[in-house]
Assembly symmetry: C2
Homo-oligomer: 161 residues x 2
């Protein structure tokens, strides 16, 4: 069994290889991700935004979807997410919903910004009140929509997540 | 042509119907989303987390993927996102990457928290320094990973997003 530091470097190298292959084959941006439980790789992904016309196909989201498919569950208990770059807010949210045990990243969002991936802009927007955001955002029809929350709350036979 | 307020309510009602159907058929949580360009619906979605074992299958992500497939592009210029509830950080991130013109939501994240969907926890975590987060997060191997950013920066024939 590898030591923790050695293991972390091993899987970060693998995430970087996925990123490099994805760039060379024109699949998308320079990002890769590997998801590991114990000594087993349960999911992998590289950015595929431009080749699949899917703005959500960041490396982490692709790897989470792959891992969840492989383990047959919507949570990634006891897993470590190895990603070649600090997750953007979308990917960080996806990671939190998947509830892994640990996150290891290599490059930072500052490094990403230096090659024109401005995750910081989205981090800044998330902290603003809805009324001050760059994309105009309005609340409409809460009185209509609350009905489906009431329906959900009243149900006994539901799968929570 | 419908007036703005009437149009907003129309599509919010449709998002709520998608949410309601999804709950009744056991596809997932009580959330729906419709994406509109002009007077055309370009994408739709409801939460499918538990039925597809995909923690990223929130209504907005499902609708964005559907819309991008339908319009054949990874950006949703001039579109409005109608969602039955204020987006969680993952979905807000996905929306920002898709770059629509406007967001309309109905219920708030407080309403979601009241039925045990604690998006607020993720909002709080995003604002914390990496070292203070609930999911242990470490940086490892930047010196290795920076190579793929340098490769990307050096390429002339790449599709940016």
């Amino acid at each position: 069994m590898m030591k923790k530091k050695e293991k972390d470097l091993h899987y970060i190298k693998m995430a970087v290889e996925l990123a490099t292959n994805g760039v060379k084959t024109g699949e998308g941006g320079p990002f890769g991700c590997v998801i590991v439980r114990g000594d087993e790789i349960v999911g992998k992904g590289n950015n595929r935004v431009t080749s699949t016309n899917d703005p959500t196909a960041h490396a982490e989201v692709v790897a989470i979807r792959d891992a969840c498919k492989n383990v047959g569950h919507f949570q990634l208990d006891d897993c470590t997410i190895y990603t070649s770059c600090e997750p953007c807010p979308m990917c960080l949210g996806a990671i939190y919903w998947a509830r892994p045990a640990r996150i290891v990243f290599a490059c930072t969002k500052k490094d990403a910004a230096a090659i024109q991936f401005d995750d910081q802009f989205i981090y800044d927007e998330i902290e603003l009140p809805v009324s001050d955001r760059n994309i105009p955002t309005e609340q409409v029809g809460r009185d209509i929509a609350i009905s489906v929350f009431e329906l959900w709350a009243s149900m006994d036979d539901k799968t929570e997540y």
